[in-house]
Symmetry: C2
Subunit: 327 residues, 2 copies
DNA sequence: GCGGCTATTTACAACGTTAGATACAACGTT
DNA sequence: AACGTTGTATCTAACGTTGTAAATAGCCGC
């Protein structure tokens, strides 16, 4: 211990923690000893004593999915502002792993949990007994008693679809519907898609289902729309996220179909790749920084105990028109 | 405490840790109490007692950069295999932040550190005093006494360039050189590029410098090569990573230049985006899973004290030929 | 039926920190 | 000169866990 400074342990603690009533010379002496002995406070001991760790977990499906990577970047930055460290749990969208995360594997190691579930059901959440504060990212799951941040998916999807209608397209398809109870996001976006078509007095040209929101799924789904539809190909497609759209784009270009001339394409998420695709991808951009900031703020309120009812916050979004829908 | 089971703290500990000499009925009783009271061992206390936390840090520039996101995914998976949790530090490639990471901000919170530096100098590493085991990812930095995993950048860059030569291209340029002492990776790839050209008896057509390895830098650099070069445009370009290449591709397609017909393009990293670009990007694929596995293994040896000399391990790579260089 | 063995359980101490109470000294006031 | 006040430093206990040593009980062979 750094009593090389000829001082009690507590005084060292006081210096380290900036306690005001330490004489300048003592402080200097202690700081010198700290530097000399390369003393580092043991965070485990501090955590034990204080009952909190300064670490939060961010649980998401997979960092290799650009949307989540971009979100994680912002969450880490927001947490950093508060002096928190972020630990990542990848669930692969697997229900068993998601339940594990929610059940509190990391109890007492993390102060709070930011969780972006994919497969979790309302029942899973209701059955949760772990008391670690948790904030959900993304769609609402059941009637869960947890704080929650998401964009208004129905409205956003409606805007995206309306944009296609405004271009004068009439044979409008969607890619990204999901069978499983899992696809809450998909369900909301599909609803928005249908609202917009109904408002415009159009019927949906086709809706392609996918197993996941990956490029490969988008590519396959688009191939299906081109050949499988008895009514012929669509003239515009709303993909429920950007990776689906990039996969679809790939299929179209490979077959010499012009985008947007023959088929207009719009995505969702505004990932970096979409901006540099050719043609650049029109998309709905959720305000990821806002999502991250709000989520971290919510968690902070939970931690300080000042939060009351679970809140459901809506983050902003906006349509970004790029080449894939320019006429 | 779970002495609801009518048993000492230590016995609970013994049950939790699978100590063999616990009678079956006691074990059952304790397990029942644990379930009933939802008891969770306090990891901070355990860490304090045992002197290790089961947490390692992965420090990298930015998760929003696809290569690092893909690498992080694999590191987390590899760490998971060993029961370790991964905490992420984003440095933004900023030297001050990198020094902070290396100096041990997380001392006693993490058992080890996997670090992918960008701006750090050999001097910074030599000045390191923190004793947390560390394994470096990416290029060797100075003559540092640390374990270290990377692909053979010179050889890989040479292969990439040789591939362009084999296509019959003769006006071969590179994008990605860096002025700063920082760009160790860039320097090695540039060296490989020049080796290959020298072997083929060619002179370099042009070498574009970039501030960073982002899409925007690639786009700008390519524009420069097209207009700025007195010798005219190149007929092939080796980009030092895939994001540079995707940026460059965007510039080319926007100007109606055909890839690969007019200009062939090759990247480095094999990120997912490149596979779905049109034309799909030829690239050098480092074995990311191997890098992650080996790095985690190295760290494990350090932690168990069985490691001797610092090791410098070379991960595999291979050329993946796709449309952007097909003739 | 006693000594020595094994199986099971417990007691104690320690990991390094910090909140709170306490000790001490110097000072100005009455 | 006795008093409270203030600033500085120390003392004590506690956070929850686990390694070690020790206690207890049952069992065997003689």
């Amino acid at each position: 211990m750094a009593e090389r400074a000829g001082v009690s342990i507590k005084t060292v603690s006081n210096v380290v923690n900036g306690y005001p009533h330490v004489s300048p010379e003592t402080r200097l002496r202690v700081e010198a000893a700290i530097a000399e002995l390369r003393y580092r406070p043991n965070l485990s001991a501090r955590n034990l004593r204080q009952g909190r760790s300064g670490v939060i977990a961010l649980a998401l499906p997979d960092l290799a999915i650009p949307y989540f990577a971009e979100l994680a970047t912002r969450v880490i930055a927001a947490a950093d502002q508060r002096g928190w460290t972020v630990l990542i749990d990848q669930t692969q969208g697997d229900r068993a792993k998601e339940r594990l995360v929610v059940s509190g594997i990391r109890a007492h190691l993390i102060d709070g949990l930011l969780f972006s579930p994919l497969a979790l059901t309302g029942g899973d959440l209701a059955a949760r007994v772990d008391s670690t504060p948790m904030v959900l990212l993304g769609e609402r799951v059941g009637r869960s008693p947890y704080d929650h941040v998401a964009v208004d998916n129905v409205a956003a999807a409606e805007e995206a679809t309306a944009h296609l209608v405004q271009l004068g397209r009439r044979r409008i398809a969607a890619i990204g519907a999901q069978k499983a109870a899992a696809g809450v996001t998909a369900r909301l976006r599909l609803r928005g898609f249908r609202h917009a078509l109904a408002k415009a007095g159009l019927t949906e040209h086709a809706v392609a289902h996918v197993a996941a929101f990956h490029r490969a799924d988008g590519a396959t789904a688009m191939a299906g729309l081109l050949t499988g539809s008895p009514a012929g190909p669509p003239d515009a497609v709303f993909c429920f996220n950007d990776t689906l759209a990039l996969g679809a784009l790939r299929t179209l270009l490979a077959r010499g179909i012009r985008v947007p001339d023959d088929i207009a394409l719009i995505g969702f998420d505004d990932i970096e790749d979409g901006r540099y695709a050719t043609p650049a991808l029109t998309t709905v951009a959720p305000d990821k920084s806002q999502i991250a900031d709000v989520a971290v703020d919510l968690l902070a309120s939970r931690l300080s105990g000042t939060a009351a009812q679970p809140k459901e916050l809506v983050a902003g979004h906006r349509l970004i028109v790029r080449e894939s829908t320019l006429h």
